[in-house]
């Protein structure tokens, strides 16, 4: 049912494009870290799982979400609860760590792929809706449950495809294809979830924003995360090139 007094969220196109690019960058970095999981043992394996999960949950998903939230221009002021914002990052990272650990264990198969994709997809979805719950504003958020379910389905299906590309293939299609598809998973889920949301003013004053993170603070945090992702990606590329050159016949 349409709401006549709903607050419109108009997306800045440039920031929308930037959000996809950041999700692809984060996904590329995370999946390049993840494909080392199958061959790793002991502490090295745990390091790869944690690093890949952090890059995916914190970089690809969390940073993308808040760039997209900054892209969403509304007529009301919005700030973000620090605790729930941090929790959203933890949910994304933990779920992605679990999904990547499952995908990287034992012989790769369809059953394992499906379970890993569900974990990753729910990580994207859980992070998004926790991040939405962190919004502090003089309005209430109402959700269309059909579109919410669709957003989760998009995240899960696209995650399964991305994991198949990353762990099953080799070469450029593996590296780039998986990142591009995972970017679609993250952005597709987010913008479907935003379409599911309706913001209705509730008459609360500006006091509701007190104590929350402003857009400027979030922007600084996102910039820092994106810089770290880029640095890790470049370092990993150099390290892999060197390792490849050092393999002796």
């Amino acid at each position: 049912m349409p709401h006549d007094h709903a607050i419109q969220c108009l997306h800045d196109p440039l920031l929308v494009i930037l959000s996809y690019l950041v999700s692809v960058l984060g996904s590329f970095t995370a999946l390049q870290l993840a494909i080392a999981i199958p061959a790793a043992r002991g502490a090295q394996r745990w390091r790869a799982i944690i690093a890949a999960g952090a890059a995916m949950g914190g970089g690809a998903i969390w940073a993308m979400h808040f760039i997209a939230m900054l892209a969403c221009r509304m007529d009301i002021a919005v700030s973000y609860d620090l605790g729930l914002t941090a929790l959203s990052a933890v949910i994304g990272m933990a779920s992605c760590m679990a999904g990547l650990a499952i995908a990287g264990s034992g012989v790769f198969g369809w059953g394992k792929l499906a379970v890993a994709g569900v974990f990753m997809g729910l990580g994207v979805t859980g992070m998004h809706y926790t991040g939405m719950a962190a919004m502090l504003m003089p309005a209430d958020t109402h959700y269309d449950t059909t579109l919410v379910a669709a957003s989760a389905a998009i995240a899960i299906v696209a995650s399964i495809v991305a994991l198949w590309l990353a762990f099953n293939l080799r070469g450029w299609l593996q590296m780039l294809g998986s990142a591009l598809v995972m970017g679609v998973a993250v952005c597709g889920m987010h913008y479907t979830g935003m379409a599911a949301a309706t913001f209705l003013p509730n008459g609360a004053g500006d006091g509701v924003l007190a104590g929350g993170l402003s857009g400027a603070n979030l922007g600084t945090g996102i910039f820092a995360i994106s810089t770290v992702l880029l640095a890790v990606m470049l370092s990993l590329s150099l390290i892999r090139q060197r390792q490849r050159a050092m393999v002796q016949i």
């Binding site: 494909i35 080392a36 199958p38 061959a39 043992r41 002991g42 090295q44 995908a103 990287g104 034992g106 012989v107 790769f108 198969g109 990353a166 762990f167 099953n168 293939l169 080799r170 070469g171 593996q174 892999r240 490849r244 050092m246 393999v247 002796q248 016949i249």
Partner: protein
């Protein structure tokens, strides 16, 4: 019996001695002495092993294609140490036999170890050198030597280009690892789980029977990474040299 010193370089220290020690024992060799140090190359494990001469090539193949091994060198220890292990009554006979047997093996291994870095530098343009080697080898040594070189090249290509990613079932390994790797060298296609090669340079060179020993070895080396050398069996069921349209390789685990 021969004593051989192996110098193995690996990225990993955890479990290295146990894994390679089991490989040595499985090849009917005894591990006499070992030393492990960290270096700029990585973890360097030096093993002195003793065992049957006719099992040496198999042990080297298994070590060379082991997933923990980045590189290795094999150096025969002085024949005098091998004589010390023999019963006194047979010492004279073995002394006479061992040097010549060792010499034949040493010449082959030296030639192989000299050729392999050249193949790595020239890869994928390697067939001129391989065909020259095949021409120079005595007929009795061709199959084993070319298969061994193929195993080493295949394992090297796998570690360099295909090691990152999931552990795939055999059929997917053939499709996503063996096929693209062979396509760097030759015209290869997969038809109902049979890998077919239309332009093997080893065919029609005057030798009877199936002759793509290097390719069979290379496929083994490529697929040994995720599955282990002993777990994959590759059969050349068709060969252009025997009149088939293409050389065909079947895989089983």
């Amino acid at each position: 019996m021969v004593d051989v010193e192996f110098r193995v370089v690996s990225d990993r220290r955890d479990g290295l001695l146990l894994a390679l020690g089991q490989t040595v024992i499985a090849a009917d060799f005894t591990l006499l002495r070992q030393r492990m140090v960290n270096s700029d190359e990585g973890v360097v494990l030096t093993m002195l092993v003793r065992g049957p001469e006719n099992g040496l090539l198999m042990l080297e193949e298994r070590l060379g294609t082991h997933h923990l091994v980045n590189s290795f060198e094999a150096s025969p220890v002085e024949a005098a140490q091998a004589r010390d292990a023999a019963p006194a009554s047979a010492a004279a006979a073995r002394t006479a036999a061992a040097p010549s047997a060792n010499a034949a093996t040493a010449v082959d291994m030296r030639r192989v170890e000299t050729l392999l870095p050249q193949l790595a530098r020239n890869y994928p343009n390697i067939f001129i050198q391989l065909l020259a080697l095949e021409h120079d080898l005595p007929p009795a040594q061709r199959e084993a030597t070319l298969r061994y070189i193929g195993q080493r090249v295949g394992a090297w290509v796998y570690k360099r280009d295909y090691a990152l990613g999931g552990h795939l079932p055999l059929a997917d390994s053939v499709r996503h690892i063996a096929l693209p790797a062979l396509r760097q060298l030759l015209q290869a296609e997969l038809h109902e789980d049979v890998l077919r090669i239309r332009n093997s340079p080893f065919c029609h060179r005057g030798e009877p029977g199936s002759c793509c020993h290097f390719l069979r070895g290379m496929l083994g080396g490529l697929l040994a990474g995720p599955h282990g050398t002993d777990q994959v069996r590759i059969v050349e069921n068709h060969c252009r040299n025997t009149g088939a349209e293409a050389c065909g390789f079947e895989f089983s685990a």
